[in-house]
Symmetry: C2
Subunit: 188 residues, 2 copies
DNA sequence: AGCAGCATGTAAGTGGTTACATGATTGT
DNA sequence: ACAATCATGTAACCACTTACATGCTGCT
């Protein structure tokens, strides 16, 4: 196996919270990390196989033979700690919004305005969702709660920042074209 | 043609600012979109070929035959507008920091502390960089300046948000393990 | 002559998604 | 009996990166 993959970390991490099937791993990840992470079966099952091969996880008694409940082994915990300790190489910068916005300014459209509006709405929407989750989280306890709060808080901070940024930019934009078609050149 | 739509957009967008070689396209993107976008030659050259095939760009007189300066065509501008108008594609939700932080809470380490510290330092560092860029940008003019300001502003908002979030979380964390390193402060 | 940096391209590999194929279990 | 959903897996493809191969141009 060797390659330190993000998926490996996610799967191993999920299993560190308790024994699960591949199906449940995916559910656990998408429930708990909602907006911030996601795995597909096409990644999960091969990763489970590789992890078992490497002795990091082991099939536990499942009661049924059509499903495989995996359990993390001591070696797996070690591996997980190793992965966590590794310097977190961040994804190559690829922000589609900024890309579009930049090149949008070279076009006669109201494109930049529209993009900023969209960004603003999206952030506002996210904030509403987070507010709803806040209520739920209040019921949780201990570590679970600490995690959820951090995640949530991260989402909120980022959404608020995006909202503020979009509003500032919209306010600063010269009011030339008002959406599609219209004046090409602003200044001469 | 096939649709490497994000790269296609970036390349077409770059060419919308003026004729360029593939090499220059890459430089233009990394200069202007610095932290927010990036293209590799392995993507750029095939994309240029495909765009030429599709009539979106055309080779212009370069003076030398060992380089090909491409120019965007009216059809290319149309294509660019089309791409810009398209509903802004997925951001596949994969935040390595949040992932690690979550599973870090299940381990006895000072892992979460270390991650938050790293996140805080990274944001602080970015802010310093942006401050430097601020000065440069002041010299620019017109559209160029408007773009740079927006980009920069986005970076600043996000970095400040991350900084605030990391600090809040660290303050809220129970002080159990003291982590390995002692270096928490931003350099002066 | 030699080196830095401009310029173009390709092959192999990575890390991931989508769609599909298959079947078991549970609830009504 | 049937549908929903739990569960496992694979094949094909996709966007992109890395490393490599090659050669030109301009400067000292």
């Amino acid at each position: 196996m060797a390659r330190p993959s993000q998926t490996e970390l996610a799967v191993l991490g999920a299993l560190s919270t308790g024994p699960m099937t591949g199906y449940e791993v995916r559910a656990a990840i998408s429930e708990s990390l909602g907006h911030f992470w996601h795995e597909s079966f096409g990644q999960i099952y091969p990763t489970l196989a590789a992890l078992e091969e490497a002795g990091a996880i082991t099939p536990a008694d499942s009661g049924r033979r059509t499903r495989t409940v995996y359990e993390i082994t001591p070696a797996g915990v070690e591996r997980l700690e190793e992965l966590l300790a590794e310097p977190h190489r961040r994804a190559p910068a690829r922000n589609g919004l900024l890309l579009r916005l930049f090149f949008g300014t070279h076009l006669p459209q109201g494109t930049p305005e529209a993009l900023l509006e969209e960004a603003e709405e999206q952030a506002a929407g996210a904030l509403e969702q987070y507010a709803a989750v806040r209520d739920e989280v209040a019921d949780d306890e201990g570590t679970e709660q600490a995690f959820r709060t951090m995640t949530l808080s991260f989402g909120e901070h980022m959404a608020r920042a995006q909202l503020a940024w979009a509003r500032e930019c919209r306010a600063a934009l010269p009011r030339r074209a008002r959406s599609s078609s219209g004046g090409g050149r602003a200044r001469g």
